[in-house]
């Protein structure tokens, strides 16, 4: 088993009465881009700051490249970090900003300016060496931050919501740039964000956090296709939930009923008739058929609200017993409010309740 | 974390100990003069090498009040203070309204100019003020001394009230109008309550400055308008440290009380004068 480049072991951090990290454990492999994803307050930033050393965990251990760093001061950890608000030194030029870590390491001026220039060339800013940070746009400043973080070739790069302060179009461009640089240099990276789009697009693996705990760890596909809890299902992509009951279990399959619909899924351990369950269906996985369509395993529903979103249509449909589902389909075929339709539920995931 | 916890954790963080030592020394540096004055004012027979006076007495206070004429001096100080506050606040409200709510080209320069007297030590222009007062027979009058104080108090009043008026959100007043309030109602129900804290703050600042003002008072006072600072100064000249201390205590206690009261609300930068553009 390859040794992890970054490891959190049962890290706990409290703020007053609030638990920001609750026995948080995570391993990041060398060369991997791991994203900590979650809503604000979930503890992702706290975990990152424990990693940088700005915060010290109350209990638990943190390892970098196999070495314990839990109590090591920040400036000895040899990390690179990119900040949300860029954190460039306003009183230094772009070149001086990037050369700063080398100056601290007592490198001679000529050599450090050369390395800094190379780092800036990597992010295509070698024409701005003498500029002051405030003369640059947001995207350019962030690239300077990236150059500064990488100029001393750290083994680990940390990124704290680096794209939040950029506008939407720039965000997409910078996403690719970051991924490209990280892959090219073979660096291990830990990315923190609340934006699921970024997380899914950039990461090798995603760690979803909630209330200081790790909710689910997996590749972007695993997170999206097989969320392990209601929280993860709700956080990634759109979701519908129905309360249901296990009706019967036959071998590897079980049948659940909810709000007048019946679905068949893989049997879960502990499933027994009468057991309560929570059903989860994504809005874009519900085909809508007109009322007279003749298809087995389809169920009656009534369209309540219609919203035109350009490339998709967003419907609220009501099932027999009043439960509401959100459905998104392409806009080629349209239904109208009040119209009766039939829905199909080919892909349903579920969790058993207590 | 507290000093005790630092030790308890077994981490002897040298910097933390040094930090607390420096802070405590600083606190002592600030408090020491007050303690000495307070102790001197109640000490009897405090000669020689003793940390504390051997006997306590209120004799010095009694002397200050009866012979030193403190009640009359206090009365003068308050009368002058009230007049100075009234004048300064009036000036401040007018100027503050102009700076905060009206179009004004070169606002910053004008503001800097008006605040200039606060940058320059009073002795520089106090001479001229004194000469004018002698010519106008304003020396040794409560009004005269108060007017002299206004030169020091008005800049602060203007500063505070400009900020107050600037912070008055036009839209709130508009909303009141839309709700049906006429100009008079808008003034009494919306504008006045919103600016009242600023007015009170400026009054407190102005009063504090007038109460403490020494230089200008020294050059424009007379036997009928002796204020507390001047009286204390005269007592120093007499050489009786104990009585001087008693007067100093009487003088300083209200200021400190006011400081404690306002420090929760006002920002310290306002006290410093907030001279922008320097």
């Amino acid at each position: 088993m390859a040794e992890a480049m970054i490891e959190f072991r049962e890290v706990t951090k409290r703020y007053g009465g609030l638990i920001a990290n609750d026995r948080f454990s995570l391993s990041v492999q060398s060369g991997e881009l791991m994203t900590l994803l979650g809503p604000s307050g979930c503890g992702k930033t706290t975990a990152l700051r424990c990693l940088t050393g700005i915060l010290r965990p109350d209990t638990g251990h943190i390892f970098l490249d196999g070495k314990e760093v839990t109590e090591l001061p920040t400036h000895q950890r040899e990390l690179g970090m990119v900040f949300q608000n860029f954190a460039l030194f306003p009183h230094m030029t772009v070149l001086e900003n990037v050369a700063f870590p080398l100056m601290i390491r007592k490198m001679a001026r000529g050599e450090r300016e050369q390395l800094a220039t190379e780092a800036l060339r990597l992010v295509r800013l070698d024409g701005y060496l003498g500029h002051a940070p405030r003369q640059l746009s947001g995207g350019q400043q962030q690239r300077v931050g990236l150059a500064r973080a990488l100029v001393y070739r750290p083994k680990v790069l940390l990124l704290d919501e680096p794209l939040s302060n950029l506008d939407a179009k720039l965000r997409e461009e910078m996403r690719f740039e970051i991924k490209e640089v990280v892959t090219r240099l073979g660096i291990t990276a830990m990315y923190v964000t609340h934006d699921q789009g970024e997380a899914l697009a950039l990461s090798d693996r995603v760690a979803i956090m909630n209330k200081g705990r790790l909710e689910q760890l997996g590749t972007p596909e695993e997170i999206y296709e097989t969320p392990r809890s209601r929280f993860v299902a709700e956080f990634i992509g759109l979701s519908n939930f129905l309360d249901g009951i296990v009706q019967s279990v036959e071998g590897a399959q079980m049948i659940l009923g909810a709000s007048g619909v019946q679905v068949t899924t893989v049997a879960l351990p502990g499933a027994a008739p009468g057991r309560k369950a929570l059903l989860f269906i994504r809005p874009n996985e519900i085909p809508l058929l007109s009322a007279d369509a003749n298809m087995t395993a389809s169920f009656a529903a009534k369209v309540e609200k219609v919203t035109y979103l350009g490339d998709t249509m967003d419907y609220r449909v009501r099932l027999g017993d009043g439960a509401e589902l959100r459905v998104q389909t392409e806009s080629a075929k349209r239904f109208h409010p009040g119209e009766n339709v039939r829905i199909v539920l080919p892909k349903v995931r579920c969790w058993l309740k207590e | 974390m507290s000093l005790a916890r630092a030790y308890a954790r077994g981490l002897w963080d040298g910097r933390l100990v040094l930090g607390y030592t420096l802070l405590l020394s600083f606190a002592l540096f600030i408090i020491a003069p007050f303690l000495m004055i307070a102790l001197r004012s109640v000490g009897k027979g405090w000669f020689g090498r003793l940390w504390l006076p051997p006997q306590l007495t209120l004799d010095w206070y009694r002397w200050a009040i009866e012979v030193g004429n403190i009640p009359e001096v206090m009365k003068n100080t308050l009368i002058i203070g009230i007049i100075a506050v009234a004048l300064s606040t009036g000036i401040g409200i007018c100027a503050g309204w102009a700076f905060g709510r009206r179009q004004l080209p070169g606002k910053e320069i004008l503001m800097a100019v008006i605040l200039l007297p606060r940058m320059i030590p009073p002795i520089t222009y106090a001479l001229g003020v004194a000469k004018i007062f002698y010519a106008l027979n304003l020396v040794d009058t409560h009004l005269g001394v108060a007017i002299a104080h206004v030169s020091v108090c008005a800049p602060y009043a203007i500063l505070v009230l400009s900020a107050t008026f600037e912070g008055l959100d036009e839209r709130v007043i508009e909303a009141a109008g839309v709700c049906g309030a006429n100009a008079l109602k808008r003034f009494f129900y919306v504008i006045l309550p919103l600016i009242m804290p600023g007015i009170l703050a400026s009054m407190i600042f102005s009063f504090t400055h007038s109460y403490n003002e020494f230089t200008l008072t020294l050059l424009t006072y007379g036997p009928h308008t002796v204020t507390l600072p001047v009286r204390t100064y005269l007592a120093v000249g007499d050489g009786y440290w104990e009585i001087t201390s008693a007067m100093a205590v009487i003088m300083v206690v209200p200021s400190l009380v006011i400081l404690a009261m306002i420090q929760r609300r006002a920002k310290p930068e306002k006290l410093v004068g907030g001279f922008k553009g320097v």
Binding site: I104 | W46, K131, A154
Partner: protein, 286 residues
């Protein structure tokens, strides 16, 4: 047409509102200063005539030049010490150690009490029977007699520091607290330890704040009047000298006093201009 009158009326109202403040400025500051300037060129005790005698008398007298030098020494010394005190103090206050609210309050205390009272307390504290000397005599082995602090130059500088350091400290602390903490974090992550972050990142960025505050301290110390009046002993800086000219001789030497006051004012303005130019040059635009 109504627009024209409306703007006219608006301008008039604005001027009217500014009138009291302007009147105060002109009447209580500008005109007195002009009067002082005029007086300084008048022969002593006379209403007419022009002369430079008041200036030459003061500037050629070695005592006069000593007074100017003394005032600068006191002001510069106390400003330098104030900066040396304020920077570490601000760093400590920013760290929000326990009790920091009290310490912040203490920084403001010298601002709200008259210089007179502060000087009085300090005289008592550093006097031959004050706690300072008591401490030295009791606990420091090689001190056998009270150390003179009062009425010495260094004692006076200490008084100035006590009274006027808050100007520097408040602006320094404010500059310090308006720093983006992310920048210091970035410095630490880049490999700089606390001292290096302080030296390369924090201090350069708060320098404008320190300078702005130290200017205020200098101005206050240069024009300090009540303090040297009672605690100066034989040392009489410019403001005290001005007062002596009108309080001791009878009839008062108004012209001589005016000349000294103008010399003081000019020196202040010149110093301020030089200081500003120096500050701007070393730090680009403010």
């Amino acid at each position: 047409m109504t627009d024209f009158w409306r703007t006219r009326k608006s301008v008039l109202t604005t001027l009217l509102l500014l009138f009291p403040a302007l009147a105060c400025f002109f009447g209580l500051f500008l005109y007195p200063m002009l009067l002082t300037v005029v007086l300084s060129f008048r022969p002593e005790g006379q209403e007419v005539g022009w002369t430079l005698a008041n200036y030459t008398q003061f500037l050629t007298d070695p005592d006069g030049r000593w007074v100017i030098l003394l005032t600068f020494i006191l002001a510069l010394g106390s400003t330098a010490l104030s900066v040396l005190l304020s920077v570490p103090l601000s760093l400590l206050l920013r760290a929000k150690l326990s009790g920091h609210r009290w310490y912040r309050l203490f920084v403001l205390v010298p601002l709200v009490i008259p210089g007179l009272i502060g000087a009085l307390g300090l005289l008592l504290f550093w006097g031959p029977r004050g706690w300072f000397n008591l401490f030295l005599l009791r606990f420091v082995p090689f001190v056998s007699r009270p150390v003179p602090v009062n009425y010495t130059m260094h004692g006076l500088i200490l008084c100035y520091v006590w009274l006027y350091f808050p100007y520097t400290c408040v602006t320094t602390l404010s500059a310090l607290e308006s720093l983006d903490p992310g920048i210091e974090e970035a410095g630490a992550v880049s490999g700089a330890d606390s001292w290096q972050v302080l030296r390369h990142v924090v201090l350069p960025l708060i320098m404008p704040g320190i300078l702005a505050g130290s200017v205020l301290t200098f101005m206050a110390a240069f024009g300090a009047f009540s303090v040297p009046l009672i605690a100066g002993g034989n040392y009489r800086p410019l403001p005290v000298e001005v007062y002596k000219q009108i309080s001791i001789p009878i009839p008062a030497h108004w012209s001589a006093a005016s000349a000294i006051a103008i010399i003081m004012g000019v020196l202040q303005v010149v110093f301020l201009a030089l200081y500003m130019r120096l500050a701007r040059r070393t730090h680009g635009t403010s």
